[in-house]
């Protein structure tokens, strides 16, 4: 079997693990999660071998059951391991491994049936994410979208002791099913008009003026993936879905699942859709609104996990700004930030989960004093906050600077991104101060002991956050640069998907670690963010945010209406 031919094994391993977990849970309940660790290791082995080739400029292509291109047409399933896809797949495996380790220590005590189901759903979701990263055709992407969606409904509604889990699962299911329907209809309309499913074939067929059904098809695809990515105005489900679930599951959603939407948006909106159209403007608009809205609402949340979830909305918006900038720096920064965001958001959610597990509280106004009682958790959370704030030396610094450098040709967008960053810094430092660092005189009624699996995950992710910051330059050269090149040269990706091999172009990415243009803005944003944080802690919720909070009524009907408006915006922008 060739290396390219073994790519489906990277998906098959977690799928098989998902089937086995409930069975082996009968022998010993913890075995269910051990199977998860093993399936991640197996998948990681295949992907690691493939990555060693891909990052050296030899992308891999595999047509399932040998249904390769004939006369430039492919209907079969195509797996393409390009630098962007393989980076996300490897990231999924890495974080999946840490999440299983954390779950093993946090939930080793629940019943065997529950643990088997939990492990199975997690592996199903991870398998869908790995497959979505590698797939190169619209319908296959839709299938993995739905697999991820069904697994995520199960995970959200899994711990039904809290009735809000039901509520979150229902809202998520309504919005995600609408998104799935949009993706499906969009893919079918593109196929009906262009006769193409394969991304390469589709890209080749889109030269010249585009008829309306094609534009409507793309509008539906964009709306569908934007829902999965949690971009405003499709974001209603996201903060709710993260609130009632255990920390490790929130981490799985925020660090990895929303990125499925980002990958879908990049594939369909940037790599397949011909450039020079309004698409990039549309993505920039969604990105801007999400970046600012998410940051503002994160600033005033009282629930720790909900705060982190709102920050995910903001970060996804930032990623979209980078991908839509169509510059080498912006795209490379977005790829790197996708990886970095997954690392620090997984770390932050695991810390939040550890705190909730230990104290049984989620409200920032009640928490506090974690630094004295659980120093490791508090330090890990602080590392995450420093990373997200772009402090030099941590991973967020490199990717945020690159992203901002890529936005320089559009000054208003750049300033909005900087503003969002200032608010993000304030929101996260507020969480760190209120929840972890400030003193708390009265002892906690109940404080569970930390466990070794959780410690391993926190230390592992924390070390990764720091090392991705320290070795930022090599990671740009090896990972982000080649990935940006595939995004910026869609014709090369199209040729790959159609099996017309060849190497990948090289795009130079300029970055100097200690340049004044990089360090000074980062420090200014940090300082302003800290000032804003002080002001919010001292004087409470700023008045301008109140109408925004009132807009999010929690009603599923309203959120569906927001999403419908979003679909109309997509359609009108592309058709006009």
């Amino acid at each position: 079997m060739t290396l390219a031919g073994s790519l489906p094994l990277a998906v098959a391993a977690p799928l098989l693990g998902g089937a086995l977990s409930p069975l082996v849970a009968r022998l010993h309940r913890r075995l269910a999660l051990v199977v998860g660790l093993l399936s991640m290791a197996a998948s990681g082995l295949v992907l690691g071998l493939a990555a060693s080739r891909v990052y050296r400029g030899h992308p891999l292509v595999h047509y399932l059951s040998g249904q390769g291109p004939s006369h430039g047409q492919v209907l079969g399933i195509t797996f393409v391991a390009d630098p962007l896809g393989i980076s996300f797949a490897l990231l999924t495996v890495l974080i999946g491994f840490f999440l299983f380790s954390a779950l093993l220590s946090e939930f080793g005590e629940i019943g065997e049936k529950e643990l088997g189901g939990l492990a199975a759903l997690c592996q199903l979701l991870l398998a869908a994410l790995i497959a979505a990263a590698l797939t190169a055709d619209t319908i296959n992407l839709f299938v993995w979208f739905e697999v991820a969606a069904l697994a995520s409904y199960g995970l959200t509604g899994f711990f039904l002791e809290r009735p809000i889990a039901l509520e979150a699962a229902f809202k998520m299911a309504v919005l995600t099913s609408m998104a799935g329907f949009a993706v499906f209809l969009g893919a079918a309309m593109l196929y009906a008009d262009r006769g193409a499913l394969n991304f390469g074939q589709l890209h080749a067929s889109l030269a010249g003026p585009l008829p309306r059904p094609v534009l409507v098809g793309f509008a539906l695809l964009i709306a569908g993936f934007a829902t999965k990515a949690g971009l405003a105005p499709f974001h209603g489900w996201l903060p709710d879905a993260h609130t009632p679930v255990p920390g490790a599951v929130s981490a799985l959603f925020s660090a990895l699942m929303v990125n499925l939407g980002v990958i879908g948006l990049v594939r369909c909106g940037v790599q397949v859709f011909p450039s020079g159209h309004r698409m990039l403007g549309l993505l920039t608009a969604f990105g801007l609104v999400s970046a600012l809205l998410g940051a503002l609402l994160a600033l005033v949340q009282d629930d720790l996990k909900r705060l982190l979830a709102w920050d995910t909305v903001s970060q996804m918006g930032l990623l979209m700004l980078g991908f839509a900038s169509a510059t080498a720096e912006g795209t490379a920064g977005a790829v790197l930030h996708l990886v970095n965001h997954a690392l620090f958001k997984a770390l932050l959610f695991l810390c939040a989960g550890a705190v909730v597990h230990a104290t049984g509280m989620t409200s920032l106004s009640q928490l506090g004093g974690i630094l004295q009682r659980r120093p490791l958790v508090a330090i890990a959370f602080t590392v995450g906050v420093l990373s997200i704030s772009g402090v030099p030396g941590f991973n967020g610094y490199v990717s945020l600077d690159l992203l901002h450098a890529g936005l320089e040709h559009e000054q208003p967008v750049l300033w909005a991104a900087r503003l969002a960053q200032v608010i993000t810094v304030a929101a996260l430092f507020r969480a760190a101060w209120l929840g972890f660092l400030r003193r708390r005189r009265e002892p906690y009624e109940h404080l569970a002991a930390p466990r070794s699996g959780m410690r391993l995950s926190l230390i592992g992710l924390g070390v990764l956050c720091v090392s991705f910051g320290v070795f930022g330059y090599s990671i740009i050269r090896v990972v982000a640069g080649p990935a940006a090149a595939t995004v910026l040269h869609p014709e090369r990706y199209a040729a790959l998907a159609l099996g017309r091999g060849g190497g990948l172009p090289v795009v130079p990415v300029e970055f100097s670690y200690f340049g004044a243009k990089e360090v000074v803005p980062a420090l200014v944003e940090l300082a302003l963010g800290l000032l804003l944080c002080l002001a919010v802690v001292r004087y409470g919720e700023p008045a301008p945010i109140r109408p925004l909070r009132r807009l999010h009524t929690g009603s599923v009907n309203d959120y569906a209406m927001f999403a419908t408006v979003g679909v109309l915006v997509c359609a009108v922008t592309l058709l006009a």
């Binding site: 006369h71 069904l150 199960g154 509604g157 509520e167 009906a192 009524t553 929690g554 209406m561």
Partner: protein, 122 residues
């Protein structure tokens, strides 16, 4: 004939969307989603109809035979029909999950009013 199909699909779709946006009854929201999906099926089978064309599976006809000798008249694109079957299967699974959540909500709140499900907001 095909135009009528598209019109009906659009009408059913709008009906489903309105139900999702306007009804607070959880079951009606689920019904609205099912209606939307059903409109998708109708649209797919209508789109698969190809007048004077050949199905894409006939790109490479067997030696000695031409596309025209294999297909006489109008065809339906089998790929879109396959999508339709896939969509029906996924739709059933999703509806099942929805109804399970609705049943649990009804057991807990003793009603199916979506207004109960607004504890998470802002």
């Amino acid at each position: 004939m095909i135009v009528a199909n598209y019109l009906v699909a659009a009408a059913v779709f709008c009906l489903g969307l309105l139900a999702i946006m306007l009804h607070r009854d959880l079951i009606k929201v689920v019904l609205g989603l099912s209606l939307m999906e059903a409109s998708g099926y109708l649209m797919l089978v209508s789109m698969s109809y190809r007048r004077h064309a050949t199905a894409p599976v006939l790109v490479n006809p067997p030696s000695g035979q031409s596309e025209q000798s294999l297909v006489n008249g109008n065809v339906t694109d089998p790929v879109l029909q396959n999508f339709c079957l896939t969509a029906i299967v996924i739709g059933v699974a999703v509806t099942g999950v929805f109804l399970a959540i609705a049943v649990r909500a009804a057991q807990h709140y003793r009603s199916v009013d979506a207004a109960n499900l607004t504890e998470l907001h802002g």
